[in-house]
Amino acid sequence: MTITDSHDAALTAEQAEARERIYALPLESLDPANEAHYPSGDIHWVFERLRAEDPVHFTAAEHSEYGHYWSLTKWDDIRAADTNPKDFSANGIITLARPVPESMTEEEMEAQRRQGITSLLSMDPPDHEIHRGAVSEAVAPANLAAMEPLIRERAGAILDGLPIGQEFDWVDKVSIELTAMTLATLFDYPQEQRRKLTWWSDVITSAPGPGRAVENQEDRVVAMNEFFDTFNDMFTRRQSEEPRVDFLSLLAHSPHATDFTDRELFGDGIVLLVGGNDTTRNTITGSVYALSKNPTENAKLRANPALIPSMVSETIRWQTPLTHMTRRTTRDVEINGKIIPKGDRVAMWYVSGNRDEDKIQNAASYIIDRKNPRQHLSFGFGIHRCLGNKLAELQLRIIWEEMLARFPEINVIGEPVRSHSSFIKGYESMTVVIPRRN
């Protein structure tokens, strides 16, 4: 085994030791949802082992703070579950949520309940089609084509404003900036306050704690309520205005709008917010990181910018910005020789399926001109497949076209700080230096 997560070099002593440690654990104790595996990248060893030794894996409650759940780690099993909404229901469930602690107050329970949201992503047919259909026009091909010049102009302005020969945080100055602007456009939210959207999304996706988006559960409740009120307010205003193609206006003017409950609308809002935020942001950062770690690939790209779209797809596979989605079985389901009892939670680990050697050759390597780069699990398959995938690809393509036109090199300094999350696979910060312009 000479392949690491980030490049083809031999394992560092540290990585080899981490891998050995994972392989020494009792198989049944492996808990892929354990956040501790993520900032270090150790999670890839957990999945490597599970794919080989126990591809449909059960984690008992005693081994996980998320309670008991199943893990699918092979491409074929993930695809089978994702395309079978009858047996694997999305109803009310997206990610593995922690069980509710007994000490919770009423208010905290309410916030938790809101977080266990009902949304287009956590609905089965036929409700799913109604909610998805209501908002999809915002990211339909015609609207994307209309947005392209705007995104390009913004990308150019962001890049032109970067310091030269000086260290700065790529995540903050580029990745968040561009995605927040796009998000504000999609929600028709004031551009000056766009970072609010980023912050709400961070609050929603990360557990409270020191150094996180919010310090504690109380602050989290306040933040969620603020988003809820803002969203509601915008929705009400849109109802009395002319229809437009932002998410809120589309929801407000849907023929089904009167049937939508507050909770559903709020859920749709959260999914559209998070879906448009972390994923693209972390893929932008991931592309800069992966190319800096793989000089041969970087050289290929710079010699042939026509490889940008394929590089983008390869980064989306390699990064897998959302590690998994969760389903609940509606009956006892047999999959790959194991029977998952009715009502159990099943995590479909896209991040593992995207490294499955039975499906993808040299899956651990980052190869920007590989055959079939679009075949990856990062957007999911089936009826819940990512609605904004083309918008994500568009933003990635544009920022890279503009970057190649401006900067002959971008150097990553040290290692990025990775997110402490088993859902969002991303970066908190990444220091870079751009030595000069073209």
Partner: protein, 103 residues
């Protein structure tokens, strides 16, 4: 046999095809723009969406149930919409014309 793709810019692209392939595979092999085939032909991504011209409707068959579920969640769906990974080329489809929708 030959099949013709009408592209999104309304130009046409006629390509040679062997019988027994998924129409999506024929398109991807010939780099027909607007047909991505992300899921490899499992009716699970809707990136191979086409409109089938009226005279070819019968010969291309009915939508499968997985295909229908994906079409319920796709942009620009019409009565003549198909996911072309669910159409298999055969001699009877020689001369087939489909319009690429794009996703």
């Amino acid at each position: 046999m030959e099949v013709t793709f009408v592209l999104q810019d309304k130009t046409t692209r006629t390509v040679e095809a062997e019988p027994g392939w998924k129409l999506m595979e024929v398109a991807v092999d010939n780099a027909v723009p607007g047909i991505d085939g992300d899921c490899g032909g499992e009716a699970a991504c809707a990136t191979c969406h086409v409109y089938v011209s009226p005279q070819w409707r019968e010969a291309t068959g009915e939508r499968t149930s997985d295909e229908q579920a994906m079409l319920d969640n796709t942009f620009g769906v019409r009565e003549d919409s198909r996911l072309c990974c669910q159409i298999t080329t055969d001699e009877e489809l020689d001369g087939l014309i489909v319009e690429v929708v794009g996703s």
